[in-house]
């Protein structure tokens, strides 16, 4: 049986933990300094709260935290991993750029543990539900294969460390990037008296986009403030030589504007929702 440690336990971490528990793994976590909500989620998922020294004796350690916490978590774990005899493989599964993933690897360089780059695409698993796709890169020896044995939709990439992080970013280009474009389109049309005709034309010639936009807009508005940084991360990933970086700086500003509007009462947001409904 494999022992897997997951740090920390947001909805995705808890969901992945639950899925691995259902798949027969022992799943550990460490809840030092976490609030009651994290604690509740971890208990419900069947995760065992243990000290960092025990986390460091697992077979695999998964880091599933907000992007801004990825490096700090690696730094916090480094001493325990260095002191451990069992040297688990450390998998950073966070939505970070390949550059940030390199900083995670650097933080663990002295630990003696293998560090693998990963990313998760899909929704957190529900009880007895489907696993999201769990991509790993920089794992030529397939050290993370036990994840598949315990039910994760494990997808090893034939690619070096960093490629999984890159995959997560490029994938967001066609989901959150397209949503930014669509929001700009609807608002531009409404502002210029072309809203009703645009809805009718999309229904006629792009029906699959209509359903997509109608679903994407209400989902996006409460998250717009978070997506600002994600769009800038994509721009940085593409780099100054790629003109597409400018598209993502623009997308960041589109989300920035929608987030500010939401703070101020949500007038633009309401226009956007009304303008994204399918034509009747």
């Amino acid at each position: 049986m494999t022992t897997i440690a997951i740090l920390a336990t947001g909805a995705m971490g808890a969901g992945i933990g639950l899925h691995l528990v259902e798949g027969g793994a022992t799943v550990l976590t460490n809840l030092d300094g976490r609030g009651p909500e994290s604690r509740r989620r971890a208990v419900e998922a069947g995760l065992r709260d243990v000290p960092l020294s025990e986390v460091a004796r697992a077979d695999i350690v998964l880091s599933i935290v907000p992007p801004g916490s990825a490096v700090a978590l690696a730094e916090r774990l480094a001493p325990a991993l260095a002191a451990s005899d069992s040297k688990p493989v450390f998998v950073d599964a966070n939505a970070i750029s390949p550059e940030t993933a390199e900083r995670v690897r650097a933080a663990l360089a002295g630990s003696g543990c293998a560090v693998v780059d990963g990313c998760i695409i899909g929704a957190p698993p529900q009880p007895r539900g489907k696993s999201p796709a769990f991509y790993v890169s920089g794992d030529p020896d397939r050290l993370t294969a036990p994840l598949a044995q315990h039910g994760l939709d494990w997808k090893p990439m034939e690619a070096p460390f960093g490629a999984a992080s890159g995959l997560k970013l490029v994938y967001a280009m066609c989901t959150k990037g397209v949503t930014a474009l669509a929001a700009a389109m609807v608002l531009g049309a409404e502002r210029n008296g072309a809203g009703a005709a645009l809805r009718a034309e999309l229904a006629r010639s792009q029906p699959e986009l209509v359903g997509r936009f109608a679903k994407a807009m209400p989902d996006m508005l409460p998250k717009a403030y978070r997506w600002v940084a994600e769009m800038r991360e994509i721009a940085a990933f593409l780099g100054p030589d790629d003109p597409a970086a400018l598209m993502f700086e623009g997308a960041a500003q589109v989300y920035e504007r929608l987030a500010a509007d939401r703070e101020a009462g949500g007038e633009l947001g309401a226009t956007l929702l009304a303008g994204s409904k399918p034509a009747v």
Copy 2:
């Protein structure tokens, strides 16, 4: 019976002309200074080549020319329309910004003719084929209704002059804009070792986008050089206060780069085509 004049005869103009002839209209054109290809297309479509003075006696005059020629065509026709007793309604159906449409209207201000703003969305009609959508704005008296009687898919907008031109631009945001995003995504993935995984992930979670991209890329590459200006037109239309304008300046540069690559042998283009094929 309605007499309609169409200037000039690219594939769209000839196709619309053919469709109206099939719908029972008399369709005129003027081929002064046009090449043998335009002449052939006009003859095949059943259009009659007449002097401008006779064009100016039609019931409706349609301008269907490249964006850069819209104002010049209006200026060229202005004297004949001013001299005409029958005062046809002039419809600018070109892919121009509302601002440029205003310049067309200004050029005809002294002619005594009503000027209507229009746009065409869809492919040129084939023999006995389907009409594209023909939107008009700024036509409260429905002067252009005879177009529907002769088979065009006529769509009057309850909106002022300029809204139809705006519609064409916002519609291009979600077709050519999304294609620019998709191209940037595929090239970013290939450059970072994530191409194969991206194709697999899109096939798994975004199958409708896969088909869309596979079709869009080979269609786009030979036209990328033209789309540069279209993307900048959208940026200008959105205006400096709309952060989405930056997305379209970025899209213009993406197309600029692909157009330059094509001139230089098409290495990027080949990567893009290979990376946009559905995963097997």
